[in-house]
């Protein structure tokens, strides 16, 4: 063979060696995974990963606290991954499809939000949970936690959603919490004369007007028709034809016209709520109970509690549901799944502590140690006069999007009640 021939062979050898080396390296990596699986079989792993939303970004997040307490007590390490709420749903969906999702994940019940659990269960990404998780699911809400008789999400605690009432500021202004909507409008006028407002809203952030609309719908829609979402699903009802939903949105228009909101409300952000409530220039806000708790804890001397929005007539009614659930990745290793399931069982065994850390109400109902924030709605919680957040029973996030944007438009004078409800129907049918 000539020298030129040897050179060609050498070059070919180098070319062949590169992919071969790559393949060997990959094989070695694959082998490592196999070994890890094998060592983990036959019992729970001594660590697992856990992803959840962390709105504040701080270390006081309830999931972080609970994970740390579990690790200290049981000795199993939980690798936490707190993520911002706006991209959380997308991140989890991407990771689940990419096969690199954490073992344990926080989701929302139902199908109505971007981080909802049901579409992921239907796509086969989640592991069915056992009897212990099923026993925690509120009666009649099974369809929001599982499919085909299997439960895929474990609820943690009930989170009441209504009106966050600033007790101290109300006393200072000489206003008592109104019993009905007429009294509410009168109080709005009285407070406006004092340079204060009855409610502070983040009008520039659609989810807040959206939450307000849902809180109002508790008495206008769900108190009289608790199965309204079932009627929607069956095609027996629509938002546009619902008198309750019409009343709900009309109520927002009336509140706006009566000056119930702070000046500049349509352009305000969440910082406006914090300022208005903590400084006492506004007496109330529409927030989840947990947020009210966080606000009160962060502001010494601030006394907040949770109330039901005043009914037009009839009895008060509240929204309360487990807004956060935990699910296990179906693709995780068996040992990891077992470790995560142990953590879920620990949470149900320590429900009181979980509730205390989360600032909610025990999933089994209010007990003796009910958070004082919820004392005004204890009767409603005990008697079951509450409905889950309506959007948990809606089929896709667009319905709530249409409600939130529509409610924002009612504050700025864009659109009308009927067009908002028709947009919700249109979104529902997608």
């Amino acid at each position: 063979m000539t020298q030129q021939g040897h050179g060609r062979l050498r070059r070919l050898g180098v070319l062949a060696a590169a992919p071969a080396l790559g393949a060997l390296t990959l094989a070695a990596c694959g082998g490592g995974d196999d070994n890890a699986s094998a060592s983990g079989s036959g019992g729970a792993a001594d660590s697992f990963t856990f992803a959840f939303e962390n709105a504040s970004g701080g270390a006081e997040n309830p999931w972080l606290i609970l994970a740390e307490e579990y690790s200290e007590e049981i000795g199993v390490e939980i690798e936490t991954n707190p993520l911002p709420p706006d991209s959380y749903g997308l991140t989890m969906r991407t990771q689940l499809q990419g096969g690199n999702a954490p073992t344990l994940m926080m989701f929302a019940p139902g199908s109505g939000q971007s981080s909802s659990v049901i579409p992921l269960a239907e796509a086969g990404y989640l592991e069915p949970l056992g009897e212990e998780a099923a026993s925690l699911v509120p009666e009649g809400s099974e369809s929001q936690f599982g499919i085909d008789g299997e439960i895929y999400a474990q609820p943690t605690s009930l989170i009441p959603v209504g009106v966050t009432w600033n007790v101290g500021a109300a006393e200072e202004a000489g206003v008592e919490y109104p019993e009905d909507f007429d009294a509410y409008l009168e109080a709005c006028q009285s407070l406006a004369d004092q340079g204060k407002s009855m409610a502070v809203i983040a009008g520039a952030v659609p989810p807040n007007p959206g939450l307000m609309a849902m809180a109002i719908s508790a008495t206008r829609v769900y108190a009289e028709t608790p199965d309204f979402n079932d009627q929607l699903a069956a095609g027996d009802a629509s938002f546009a034809e619902s008198e309750g939903w019409q009343d709900t949105l009309e109520t927002i228009v009336e509140m706006n016209e009566a000056g119930c909101f702070q000046p500049g409300a349509p352009g305000a952000g969440f910082d406006g709520i914090t300022q208005g409530i903590t400084q006492g220039t506004s007496l109330s806000a529409f927030l989840p109970g947990t947020a009210a708790n966080e606000l009160a804890n962060a502001t010494p001397g601030l006394e907040l509690d949770t109330r039901a929005f005043p009914p037009a007539d009839g009895d008060p009614y509240l929204l309360a549901s487990p807004n956060y659930v935990l699910s296990i990745n179906a693709d995780a290793e068996e040992a990891q799944k077992e470790a995560a399931l142990d953590f879920l069982n620990w949470m149900s065994e320590n429900a009181e502590r979980v509730t205390e850390v989360q600032g909610g109400v025990p999933i089994t109902g209010p007990g003796e140690n009910l958070n004082p924030t919820y004392e005004p709605v204890r009767d409603l919680l005990e008697s079951g006069d509450y409905a889950p957040l309506p959007n948990q029973g809606w089929p896709n996030p667009s319905v709530y999007g249409a409600l939130a944007t529509g409610a924002q438009g009612l504050l700025t004078g864009q659109g009308d009640v009927q067009s908002v409800l028709e947009a919700m129907d249109e979104a529902y049918s997608q």
Partner: protein, 317 residues
């Protein structure tokens, strides 16, 4: 002509090394005259071309395929033909987003080019402080659009400085970002404020190429400022006009950051653009198919306007 005097552009047979009877000097001559990239070496570019095709065009085409599906981001999907596009054109909110996009794009194009050209003309030669002023006018360009938008959000706030100034002169405060009639203009102001410096620099570069002799000759012949600008300056900076207008039109069509930071598309969709709708439908509402259809539509619109704009500013001399 001999081979030694040939240029790479020379395509005579001698230069290409194909002349018959060149004798012993043929090889030397043809090697010296060979262009830097000659016929037969096109495949050098093949890996790069393949990468661009695979990573850019094929991936984009793959994404565009979802525009014809009902994919929600997880699980299976069905091909639904043009249903997503029918929904876009039947939905008043989407039509509103399209209108807003065009309003912002053309408003941005006009505002930045007019103000940028005026600034460039003012700061071109005579002003002593022109170098300092150029820096000041260009400075917003280097800032993050998000940072600039948040500063302006504070300025536009109901309790912000702008309403404070209005209060001093006895005017009513305005909901700049929450009024459906004002919000889109507010977004346009922020976009134009930040980018005008860039256009100014493009026009300054163009103005540097305008021969002063011709301008002086025209002035001596009695041509006024406007006639000199109309008949000498503007034709001379035509390439700058083409570049600045194309860039601004495309930047205006794809506006996203400023809208999201200032209004989030609100109030009630009054400032929603196609780009913000693509984001919301795809990532917030999990309508991946519908979002892909919107993205495809936006791409087509940008393509059409870019071609039209290039044709309109083409140098026909």
């Amino acid at each position: 002509m001999t081979a030694t005097t040939g240029t790479p552009q020379d395509t005579s047979p001698v230069v290409r090394g194909a002349a018959a009877g060149a004798g012993g000097g043929r090889l030397f001559r043809s090697r010296r005259a060979r262009p830097l990239i000659s016929h037969g070496r096109w495949w050098w570019a093949l890996p790069a071309v393949l990468m661009v095709v695979l990573i850019h065009y094929l991936a984009t085409a793959g994404g565009a395929l979802y525009a014809f599906t009902d994919w929600s981001g997880v699980g299976d999907f069905n091909f639904i033909g043009l249903e997503n596009f029918r929904r876009i054109f039947a939905d008043p909110a989407m039509i509103g987003s399209l209108t807003n996009t065009l309003f912002l794009a053309f408003g941005f194009l006009i505002a930045t080019n007019v103000v940028g050209l005026v600034l460039a003309l003012a700061l071109n030669r005579t002003l002593k402080t022109r170098y300092l002023l150029r820096v000041l006018f260009f400075m917003p360009v280097v800032l993050s659009p998000l940072a600039v938008s948040y500063v302006w959000k504070f300025i536009f706030d109901f309790n912000g400085p702008l309403n404070g100034v209005l209060g001093w002169v006895g005017m009513e405060p305005q909901l700049w970002l929450a009024d459906a009639n004002l919000a889109l203009w507010a977004v346009l102001v922020v976009m134009a404020w930040q980018t005008t410096g860039m256009v100014m620099v493009i026009y300054l570069a163009g103005l540097a190429t305008v021969p002063t002799e011709i301008e002086e000759a025209a002035a001596l012949d009695g041509a006024g400022n406007w006639r000199r600008f109309r008949h000498i300056t503007l034709p001379s900076i035509r390439p700058s006009v083409a570049i600045a207008s194309t860039l601004m039109l495309l930047q205006g069509l794809r506006v996203f950051d400023q809208v999201m930071a200032l209004t989030g598309g609100g109030p009630a969709g009054a400032t929603e653009t196609l780009a913000t709708q693509v984001y919301k439908e795809t990532f917030a509402l999990s309508n991946f198919g519908f979002g892909a259809a919107l993205a495809l539509l936006l791409t087509l619109i940008m393509l059409v306007f870019a071609v039209l704009q290039q044709a309109a500013t083409k140098d026909r001399s």
